[in-house]
Point group: C2
DNA sequence: CTTGCTGCAAAAGTTTTGCACACGT
DNA sequence: ACGTGTGCAAAACTTTTGCAGCAAG
């Protein structure tokens, strides 16, 4: 193997990266420079992201990969459980890093569309009780809450104030 | 108004239907035969449905409406809160009748894709606690659980048995 | 020399939109 | 005439796929 490939050798070997490489090898697939870069972009992401966001972000960083490759790589990252799918919106897939994370609740702001993800160990018990009642064997779950984020609440309060002042 | 319009007069005036008519009137919109028929199809649905399913179902019943009209009407039904959106799958919108219903959990079978919807009053408390911790003002929520339905479990058990017998 | 990977462009699938025509007042 | 509604076809948008050329063992 030519270990002077700059793109591969620059990769920081995070745990997730090792898992991905092992997964790919197990499937007879290759850990290519493109896949390394996409994983890196995914790892740099806090919170929920879309395929298109990833693409734009990489473009801005002058890292060129085709969308096709991004989609193909996201599939492999899903299979290897490094990311998981998050249902936030019915017209676009959303993903989040899952490696080493707890089940999540997602607080989606109806004003800003920003998403707060937070761990929710408490829900599992309720989930299991519900599933038991229906003879259903649970594998995973997700709670999505829609509402108004603190920022949007502050924004709304601000606007109300301004309206008041100008009408005084 | 011509009260001999067969399509309109055949409508059963369920509470949901009254709500929809009131909503439309309030918006300066009309309760047309197409909208009546679409609402009827929606009301006849137990559980979760997709726009396309609705379209096929109506076609089979020889009720002709265009997909465009279905999509447009679903929007109005959402606004009037007669139906709500359910996030089950990131590539297609799913809806469910919400009029008079409790917050739901959705048990999605990974084998059959069938969806069991069940009321879950218990989750609201947890939801509110989580939101409070984040200064988030909740409006609605949804729990989706992925797993194996009783039917699929039985199916799997059957197949295992058959495999055993044939190897005996 | 076979297998897998990439990028491109085309295709597929769902949802939206523009337009011309129809309906009711 | 005016508002709004409908169907059709085209457009928009995300995701998938086919293909040709490339890289690696």
């Amino acid at each position: 193997m030519n270990s002077s490939d700059p793109a591969i050798d620059d990769v920081v070997f995070t745990p997730a990266c090792s898992i991905f490489r092992r997964f790919l090898k197990g499937q007879g697939l290759k850990f290519t420079p493109e896949r390394a870069k996409i994983l890196e972009a995914v790892l740099s992401r806090e919170g929920v992201f879309e395929a298109d966001e990833l693409y734009d972000e990489m473009r801005q960083a002058l890292i060129r990969v085709s969308k096709a490759t991004i989609y193909r790589t996201l599939k492999h990252l899903l299979e290897s459980k490094i990311i998981r799918e998050v249902l936030i919106d019915s017209k676009q897939a959303h993903y989040q890093l899952s490696y080493g994370r707890e089940p999540m609740a997602y607080l989606v702001c109806l004003e800003t569309n920003k998403i707060i993800a937070c761990a929710t160990p408490q829900i599992k018990e309720i989930r299991d009780r519900i599933c038991e009642e229906h003879g259903f064997n649970p594998v995973s779950h997700q709670l999505v809450v829609y509402g108004i984020s603190p920022e949007a609440q502050a924004e709304a309060a601000n606007e109300a104030n301004e309206a008041n002042e100008s009408s005084d």
